[in-house]
Structures are given as C-alpha cells and as structure tokens.
Symmetry: C2
Subunit: 363 residues, 2 copies
C-alpha cells in the first residue's frame, strides 16, 4: 500500500478518515522531478535532462539520477510535459466503428505509424450521426493541444470531419471523392472506382449478362465505387440494374441477398465489402442457389477471413493498414509544417481471384 500523501502524517487523523468512510481525498501526490532531484542531490533541471536523454550530463550524475528515479518509481507526467513544451504528440482517432474490418485495419495502420513517431493515440467513437453525438465526439477529440484523425468512411464520420474546429491539425481517411479535392485538404483514400470497374468487367468477361451491386452506404452523391461498376456495365452495352443499398455487415448482405435470390436472372453480384458478400452467399445458399455455379459473388476489401470461406471469396484487396499509415503521415507533415499537404489516393486495389465467381451457365 502506498502512502496517502499527508504532509504531516497523523495516525489519528488517517484513522478517523477511514472511520468516516469519506470520499478519501486520495490526492496521492505523485513523485515529481523535484522529488527525484532532492533524492539525487541535483537540481530538477538535471533530472529533466536525464529523462530527456540530454547529453550534457556527467555519467556519474546520470547514474545517480537514474537510481533515484528507479528508487522512487518516478514516471513523468505527460500532461505537464505537453503543457510546458507546447508539444503536440498525441492524436485522437474519431471513428464510428472499431470492429468492422476496414475501420479496424485503418486504425491499426494509424496506430503503427503513430507509435513509430512516438505519438500517443486516443479513440473517440461516434455513437451515431446525430448532431449532438457528433459534436460530443469532436469535443472529446479536439482538445486544444493534440490533433485529430477522422475515419470518414460513413455519414457520421463525414459530419465529424466537418465539425472539427479551425486550428486543429486534422487528417482524414475518406471515401474516394467524386472530384479531385483541392490542395490543402488533408485527405487520403483508396481509389476504388477503377477497382469496382475492373471487378465488374471481370464478371462480365466470365459471360454474365449483367452484374448486380450490393452497395455499402455512401457519403457522396454518386459513390465512385458505384460509378465504376456502372461504367463497366455501360461500356459493355448493358444497362445497369438498380444497385441494392445495404448496410455494412453480413446481416445486411443477407437481407439484400434474399431479395436478389428471388430473381432467377441474377447471376453475378458485386458486393461493397466482404461481410456483405458473406451474407449474400448465405442467402443464396438458403435459396438453393450454389456459388459459383448458379451465381457468382465478388466482395471488396479482402478481409483476412475471406480466403477461408467456402467457396473462397473472390474479392478486391484494399490496403487499409497502409491507408492508416498514410493518413498519419499526412497529419504528421501537417504538424511539422514541412511539406505542403496534398490529398492523395493510397495504394492500388487489386482483384484477388478465388472461387466465388465463375463463368456463366445458362439456366
């Protein structure tokens, strides 16, 4: 048990306090550099030098200070440090989700890069796209020191991004923008329009008369992904069927799949992500339609499980981890003020052909 920090320890008092069962004002004064300094017989500044690796410290002094640090169990207070230095080595990730693959992987990339740059990372989850919740999440994140990264793949994220007050260093991972964003917008994204087009073309080349699309929600008016799919279709001279809007998860895919399964003309489906594809496949299976013989399904994202589905999922690889890293890099250069910030796409998605799509067999 550690000492409770009474300046003048009085057994009687501490006993009565316990008896009273009061809120036990445990303001256990943490050990500070001044305490360490006293113990080591040096000035607080020397202690500061030691913990910051300043070379202008005699070895013997350094040893003494480090011994005192270990002895007292001193740990620097990062709040004080941030305050005094004005440094800004912390960032908060604002996101509406932490478990969906795309979000989680992006977060992972951000964390990796941030860790490498000695930034600490916090998370602030958007409970909904309700105005109050968005504001709350942004307030939590946009501390006056500290910067922000927004994962703006969805409506809530987009709102949060817009709500970030001026003056806060910010970067965002966004959905592929409809038109090239102007310089200065600290955005990164994975350009998936072309990927959607080539996945669709792939399906068309397999002989399918058309390709249906089960879409994730989009924040833009005309999602690039949808546009790519549509472009491939029109290029092939077939009119695009109505895309079926779904959510993000397997259940949403399942529901969309049930509808699609009723239409015998449906033979190829492109899905906005792998979870959706999983749900669609499940629905098809229940409807007695086999994959890929009766209907071909292509997913998006290449979630780690997708290779192990039966049939293994043909999908589009999206490097979200790299996206996260790039997003941090953008933020970092923004903070450093070194390079001008230019929005840019990250990586190039690639179609991973596996088993869930096959050539068209006439019914």
């Amino acid at each position: 048990m550690s000492v409770t920090g009474h300046t003048s320890p009085s057994p009687a008092e501490s006993t009565s306090e316990q008896a009273a069962g009061g809120p036990s004002r445990q303001r256990t004064r943490a050990v500070s550099i001044r305490d360490v300094a006293k113990a080591a017989g040096v000035s607080y500044q020397t202690v500061s030098r030691v913990i910051n690796g300043n070379s202008y410290v005699r070895d013997s002094t350094r040893d003494r200070v480090q011994a005192a640090i270990a002895e007292l169990g001193f740990r620097p207070n990062s709040a004080a440090r941030a305050l005094a230095s004005g440094e800004n080595r912390s960032l908060t990730v604002v996101t509406s989700n932490t478990t969906l693959y795309g979000y989680a992987a992006t977060l992972q990339g951000i964390e990796e890069a941030a860790r490498a740059a000695a930034f600490s990372v916090g998370i602030s989850v958007l409970e909904s796209s309700d105005d109050g919740h968005v504001r709350a999440a942004v307030d939590r994140a946009a501390d006056s020191s500290g910067s922000v990264i927004v994962i703006a793949f969805d409506h809530a994220g987009t709102l949060a991004l817009q709500a970030i007050p001026d003056g806060v260093p910010v970067a965002a991972a966004v959905e592929t923008p409809e038109t090239a964003p102007q310089a200065g917008q600290p955005w990164v994204w994975i350009d998936d329009g072309e990927a959607a087009r080539s996945a669709t073309r792939y399906l068309l080349e397999l002989g399918h008369p058309t390709v249906h699309y089960v879409a994730i929600p989009s924040t833009t008016h005309t999602s690039r992904r949808t546009a790519g799919w549509r472009a491939a279709l029109t290029a092939a001279g077939v009119t695009a069927p109505e895309p079926v809007g779904a959510g993000w998860d397997a259940l949403a895919g399942y529901q969309a799949g049930r509808t699609l399964a009723r239409d015998p003309a449906v033979s190829a489906i492109l899905c906005g992500n792998d979870d959706l594809a999983l749900g669609v496949i499940r629905a098809m299976h229940e409807a007695g339609r086999s994959i890929p013989e009766s209907v071909s399904v292509v997913g998006f994202d290449n979630a780690p499980q997708s290779a192990f589905y039966t049939p293994a999922l043909t999908t589009v690889r999206m490097d979200f981890v790299e996206l996260g890293r790039a997003c941090f890099a953008l933020l970092h250069s923004e903070i450093e003020g070194a390079a001008p910030i230019v929005p840019h796409p990250v990586g190039r998605p690639e179609l991973i052909v596996r088993e869930s799509a096959g050539s068209f067999h006439h019914a």
Copy 2:
C-alpha cells in the same frame, strides 16, 4: 493566419523568418481562459466557472463569457486541466491486437463504458511479447496521471500486466484463471471452462466417439478451456487426444485442420475461436470431408460473421463487449476507491447450436 506569438510583433522579423524557411517555430499560442476573460471583461476564474458549469455565475455574465468563447473559438486544454486538477479521467488500453474479434469487442465495451463516464481512452499496442516492446508499451500507457486497462488474453498481455508499475490504477481482462484469484486483483474474465465442457458434451451426445481440440495459445499452464474439454471427455470415459495448439487466426486453423483431416478417426472438433473453426472447416472441405456429415466443428466466441458461414457455425457465445464494460467498471471503482475491488467472471457463455455440428455417422 493567426499570430505566431511574438511578444513584440515585428513584421520585418516575421518576413525574414519566412524567407529563411527555418523550422517555422509555429508555437501558435492557443487561446486561453485569460484571453476569453479579457474579451468578456471578467476574471479568468469566472471563465473557468462557466466552462465547468459552476452555478455561481450570473446569467448575464455567463452569456457574455459564452459569447466570447464562441467568438474566440476557445477550447479548454485538457493537459492543463488534468495537471491542475490532479484528476485522472483518462485511461490507456494496452492490447496486443485490435482487429481480432475478441480483442476488438472488448475494446469496444471498454470504450463505451469509458465514454459514458467521461473518460478519454487511449490505446497502446503491444508489438510483440519481447521484453523491450512490452516495457515500451507499458511506459507509453502508465503515465503518471491516467490509468491502465490491459487486455491480457495472451502472453504479451500478461507480461504487460505484470510490468505495470505499482501505484498505477489498473484493471485487466484476462483468460479464465486456473484458481480463483485473491481479492484485490482487478481482474475480470469470461468463465469459459464450463462452456468448453458443455460444448464437448454436446458433441459427445451427438454420438461422436471423441472430440479433438484446436486450441488458442494459453497464458496459463492448464487453460480452463482445455481443462473443460478434457473434463467432459474423461467424464464420458474417453481419453482425450492431444490438443492441437494453433494461433489465433483462420490460417492457423487451416494448418491445424490439414493435419486433422488426414486422420479418418477425427469426427468432431472443438476450436478455440471462430476464426480457427473457419480455417479448420476450409481444410476439411479441401480434404473432401463435408461439414457436418463427415466432421462436426464447434467454434468459440460467436463472432458476428459466424451465423452466416455455410454451414452456419455452431459456437459458444462470449460477451466480450460486456467484459470490456465490466473491466472499466472495475477500474472506475478502483479509482473512486468506493467499493473494494473483487475479481469476478462476467456473463455466462452459452452454446449456440447452428449447423456445423451434427450427429456421428460411422465411416
């Protein structure tokens, strides 16, 4: 452009600075309560009262201050606030993974509960169980203000938990302990021993002569999950086969599955998590063994996708989100010092019967 904080602004100097292209010491002094106070014609303390909702402020004054706050775009500096108040409303989650279902869901639960209690949450990822990395992660997390939650489902996490210095408020989500932990250990877990036993019993009752086990890595000497599986087997009078140790992901399950598939005597497999089960099923499929006709598979965790696999996965529900919430609650009560901290299991796992396990058909 905002002022760069020269005490005596000198246009010439700032120009030369730009021309020099130096590191652009952008110490853009943030707006503080003192600035707001000046603008509103009150003292800084009054501003402090307004932002903290203190009731001893005249309405008209409050309005004036709030107007000034909005006008200047003031945002409180949480570092300064934490420093001055000694408050500790932030926590860092130490975890070795953020994407695996169990970890991600636990993190989600922690975040939810923390948010509700107005705590800010940070994450510190353990890169490996290497000593240096563990120490680094703990140092990052164990700031002198602030508390820590460790997700200690694995070796790295356990090491990190042990490495947390004394005096840091800490709670941990752990693997089911071998023996009841002593009071005072701030631990929560999901008691999965019984669940493993009943899942195994379920398989046995389906007529399977024995049940194989594809295990996740354990931090304890004899994992409770393994023990439960073994207990069910011995209770039924069958000697337990050697459990096959695997990793955490589908690939590990796939590899274990390939081995198991070669043995025609294998008819029922319990897996340490759903990803492992997915991999096992894939391997069986490739080996020409159908699920559940030729071999039955039961997973663990009930990841959201598992209901949509084909066949839908029979698995054990584990409420990780609740675990995360409970873990935060433990930490919170520890900080408040109100209730004594008692380690305890959370929720009760439950077998979810779906399609991947069926009755034994003699080969």
